[in-house]
Amino acid sequence: MKYWNPYLETLPRETICNMELSHFRNILSHAKTHSLLYQQKLKGIEPNDIATLDDIKKLPMTDKEELRKYQEIAPFPYGGTLGTPIENVTTFRQTSGTTGKPVYVPESYESWQWRIEVWCHILYMAGFRPHHRVFLPFGYNVYVAFWEGHYASEKLGCEVIPGGALDTKGRIHKIIEIKANALLNTPTYGLHIAEEAKKMGIDPASFNIERMLCAGEPMPTATRKRLEELYHCHVFDHIGGTEPCAWAGMCEAKEGLHIIEPFFLVEILDRETLQKEVKEGDIGVAVVTPLGRRSFPLIRFNTKDLVVKGKSSCSCGRTSQKIVEVVGRIDDLRKIRGVLFSPKTVEEVIRQQFQEVEEFEIVVERKGLMDVILLRAEVDPQLPLEFIEQTKVRLGESLKIATNLSFIVIMEPPGSLPRYTLKAKRFKDLREETK
């Protein structure tokens, strides 16, 4: 079977939109009845006021700061964001806290299963099937994506092996020992496993991994292709977050990501005004409403993810709206010397053109009145000195072309830069620390 849910995944657009409108009214009604946040925020607005999808754009958005504020009140720790009596909560998750105090996310058994159903769409689209033995090389802790991947793999009928409490070498041995043929990991950690395996004299392609689904970080196409070369397998991306759930995934065509409709209403809005929907091919901010998750209702959650809007048709036959790519997060965009800069561009250049660079870090600092960008790049010092020098020059030139900014490139020996299993932090803006 090609689709996880052939009925939903091939519906005509008009029917999908009607379903989303109906689900939106239901979740709005639920939020207004059960969540203090929305009782106060949407006072005077009734589900029947929403006659069309365009009417939804008149409602205010929800942001992370608001969730934090409402979580300061009782009941601890979810406060006014709860959409169900606290005794119904069966699962605690939280955000990573990258942008401040973590947001605590309550899931009832029903809402957790709703999330798992969404993830089944993502895994099935990426070709995960019951014959897969899925290895998750992490201790999942309180972070949501790998728990969802774990339970959704199980629901699909895969065999699931949790890989926490092992170091990278231990995980490599475990992958080989149990003959895992599918992986769920961050792109960074996928690269790190391959790098470590090579140091152990093992070709990562010899693992015989068939499918890899990446989570946790934006993944440039060049990184995805690099992982495919290293492992000789199919690598897929998806996008989501702890608060809104995973809301789009990649199919076998690997031409962008399908929004998981009608589970989510996703608006892609002009990033300046946050009002108008952008045109196909344009970059916008994703504003997401999970349409059936009741224990933590979110109405028009501003994800701050920048995405390129795509088509609503695909060679795979699915009729859901697509996004072409995830550009990054608004929080990661910086003005440097008047130029808008996204760290993802640097990763794209390095993974596409500089395979000799194993790890890198971008540091921006202010020297006098001038912003300076350093790129620290790890290469093998056993490479010929002349080659390393040429790489340094070519890196600077390629980055200048791609970003319109000049970089000071510093070549570092292997092991100088930190390695990450979850969210990689390769971008440091020291200007903010000295403000």
Binding site: Y7, L8, T15, N18, M19, E110, Q113, E117, P262, G292
Partner: protein, 53 residues
């Protein structure tokens, strides 16, 4: 899809009844509640658009 929706209704009614009959038995009650959680998902993915009008 209509036939499927009818079957989901039947599961819902049966689960509600088990929950009521087994109210003094935590295992029966909780398993019936869990069935109802899946009924919610089944209803979500088979939404009847007649309810929109």
């Amino acid at each position: 899809m209509e036939a499927i929706r009818k079957e989901i209704e039947k599961i819902e009614q049966s689960a509600e009844r088990i929950k009521m009959l087994g109210q003094d038995n935590p295992s029966l009650r909780r398993n019936a509640e869990i069935l109802l959680n899946f009924v919610y998902i089944l209803k979500f993915i088979t939404l009847d658009l007649k309810s929109l009008s």
